[in-house]
């Protein structure tokens, strides 16, 4: 199959699951699967970065494993931990059974040799509690691994991810290197609250998702909120697009447009008018300052939106 056809297929597959995307995004999924590289997704909040990972998992029929990053996330929470309780119990059991085991041995050396006949089960996968990263590597069918908001984590953690991202393997000191059973698709998302290190960037494909244009946003609303009528849909999308051209603290994102569309459906609205917009503006804008600033523009924006849909 030609690349562009495959990319188209990805798009269509996503569309079936209700995730509408442009070619750029589909291309990155295609490339990531073919090249076996993780994707670093950046963009303003609410444009569907996390959603992309979910949609991919659904499209490929694979499990989605999610690791939410925060300040202080470390190996024990991301990769694995030993089941200490179980290990302690095991020692207890071992103590009791030790007598039986050691029957017939003479002297320390012999008992030690006898003990060595049993494997070092103490640090074995039995006692390993897998965390998201390890789960993703162990997954038989392959998995979609989402490392969410990597910019929130510390840079030590970022460095720790490098081995995983380039070779799909991790080293556990007691066990050696664990390789992925099947290569997972890895998404890293970032809101750019800090600059991601070059080393990490180099290992990833870089996808920037901007706010969608009006056509794409229309399609998204159509897929996500099918109840909203076409006229209203065009108006509300035009309104939101207009809103994004203003100087605001936080611009409304796609998720907010969807919420707004749902709100309008609930209110049985058929067309936009200034009054309605004013009443529901808090769904779109999350800062009081923004709401106040926009107030003067509402009439103009509404008329503009009505015109755009006509």
């Amino acid at each position: 199959m030609k690349p562009e056809d495959e990319i188209q297929a990805v798009r269509e597959g996503f569309a079936k699951g209700g995730y509408i995307c442009d070619k750029q995004i589909a291309t990155s999924i295609f490339l990531s699967r073919k090249l076996g590289k993780p994707i670093l997704v950046e963009g303003p909040p609410g444009v569907g970065k996390t959603e992309l990972a979910k949609a991919t998992a659904e499209y490929l029929g694979q499990e989605l494993i999610r690791l939410q990053c925060y300040e202080g996330v470390d190996e024990a929470k991301a990769l694995y931990e030993w089941k200490y309780g179980k290990q302690l119990l095991y020692t207890q059991v071992l103590k009791e059974k030790l007598g039986d085991l050691m029957e017939g041995t003479v002297g320390l050396k012999q008992s030690m040799d006898r003990l060595h006949e049993f494997d070092d089960t103490f640090f074995s996968t039995e006692f390993l509690e897998p965390r998201p990263l390890l789960k993703a590597l162990w997954s038989e069918k392959g998995a979609v691994l989402l490392i969410d908001e990597i910019d929130k984590s510390d840079d030590e953690f970022e460095a720790f991810l490098l081995e995983l991202l380039s070779d799909y393997q991790i080293s556990v000191p007691e066990l050696g290197t664990i390789k992925a059973k099947s290569t997972p698709i890895v998404f890293l998302t970032s809101n750019n609250s800090r600059e991601i290190g070059d080393a990490l960037k180099r290992r990833c494909l870089h996808l920037y998702i901007p706010f969608p244009d009006s056509k794409l946003e229309n399609d998204i609303i159509k897929a996500r909120v099918p109840d909203v009528e076409e006229g209203l849909r065009k108006q509300l999308v035009a309104f939101v697009q207009g809103l994004r051209t203003l100087e605001l603290k936080k611009h409304p994102s796609v998720s907010e447009t969807i919420d707004w569309a749902r709100t309008l459906v609930l209110l049985h609205a058929e067309t936009l008018d200034a009054e309605l917009v004013r009443d529901t503006l808090n769904v779109l804008l999350k800062f009081q300052d923004d709401i106040e600033n926009v107030d003067g523009e509402i009439n103009a924006l509404t008329t503009q939106a009505q015109k755009a849909s006509a």
């Binding site: 030609k2 291309t27 090249l35 200490y84 302690l88 996808l207």
Partner: protein, 510 residues
Amino acid sequence: MSEVLTEFIRALRAADVRVSISESIDAGRTVELVGFDNRQVLKHSLGQVLAKTEEEKLSFDETFDKFFAFDQFKPPPKREDGPGQAKDGEGEGEKSESGQDAPSDGEGGEEGGAPSMPGQSSGGDGGAPQGAQSGGKPGGGPVNEGDVRQAGPNAPGGQNLLEMLEAGDAAALQMALAEAARRTQLNRIRLFTQRGMYVRRILEEMGLETLDQAIETAEREGTEAGDARGQEIREMRDGLRAQVRDYVEQQLELYTANAGKRLREEVLSQVRLSNVDHRDAKVIRQLVKKMAKKLIALNSRRKKRTLRGQLDVRKTIRKNIEYDGLLFDIVWKSEKVDRPKVMAICDVSGSVAQYTRFLLMFLYSLSEVLPQVRAFAFSGRLGEVTDLFEKEGIEKAIAETMHVHGGGATDYGMALEDFADLALDDVDHHTTVIMLGDGRSNNANPRADILDKIHDRARRVIWLNPEPKSLWNTGDSVMRSFTPHCDRAQTCASLKDLERVVSELLRTAV
């Protein structure tokens, strides 16, 4: 990896996109995967592999469009009313390659001129430059169709330059041009003074000689028709030369666009700020932004410092579960390294104003890593301009500051008094106070005692003086009385100096 890709990556690097070796290997694999068939897919794919920030994506798109634009070759418009063409009006039936291109909407343009990327089908976003070409063609249409009868026998890549020119066969000419450019190693072009040489070499490669011979033979006939024919070829030759020159210039820009800029930036960062020309102001602004970005990247990670001797009980217990609860591995408490609070007290009179401008520009570009910057401006009296900078853009705020506080005789005593009234209470052991001024107090009392008070309270006091050290304490300069109360007093004349100061500020901040 293909040569085209290597060249492209070189062009990208010239356009300030950082491409590492491993990324170029990835790019090679990507190209193997998607091929050159589909322009849009190629652009998206390479964009994700090679450009890793928003700015880089912009540069990438620009470079991609420039690099993969095989459309420069327009049939010389001069030929429309040339005497030689009208009588060639036969073979109307044959559809020319260019004839097919013309009606298609901006995509087809690539087909005509894409020797190394045949059969591009959808090139939606590369439309702009191609559209221009397609647009150019219908104009020359009727004439071209007449000529094209020769395009058949003279397949693309045909040897005879004259025939190609007469046929107006853009594709073949483009190919010949690209080939000649490759043979003359046009991609090694570095300086604009090399343009002429490369134009000549390429023309020679393409077969300029045959043209000259043709002109000579035509004109030697001595007949009127011969002269006309000679004239015609001459015009074609000139047209060709113009196009080759365009091509060379384009390539020069592609590979060296930023080399000149870089050199200029290098020079500008070291020149005394008061000597900066007005026309360089824009470059300097960008330069400040760039430096600030670098500093942000270096300092955006929050550093921690271990407090020795203070046990972190919670973490220690948690960590030692694996040792059966024996406190074996001890965790000490640590504290985060704070970002410094900065107060900048800036002289905005006359000669120092320029430095103030750049210092403030610097400090405010760093808002990501320096969240608390307060700025004060004075010449006679001092006033706080923090709000102004937060509300307005930097440029406007600076202009406003100069307007309100600028002018008038400098009076350090008065200014420091005002500062003590306004903000001395807010100076604490997290605060770094930066004084920017030449220390020339017009023989008024400098009130160094106030600076001493500030110094007692603040974490550090840094004095930046644009004058070289040899001029300190000459004339009415009172640096001598100020320096004992500063942790550091140094000359700060160029952007490089400024960067050093600010970088130190960030690095050692506690």
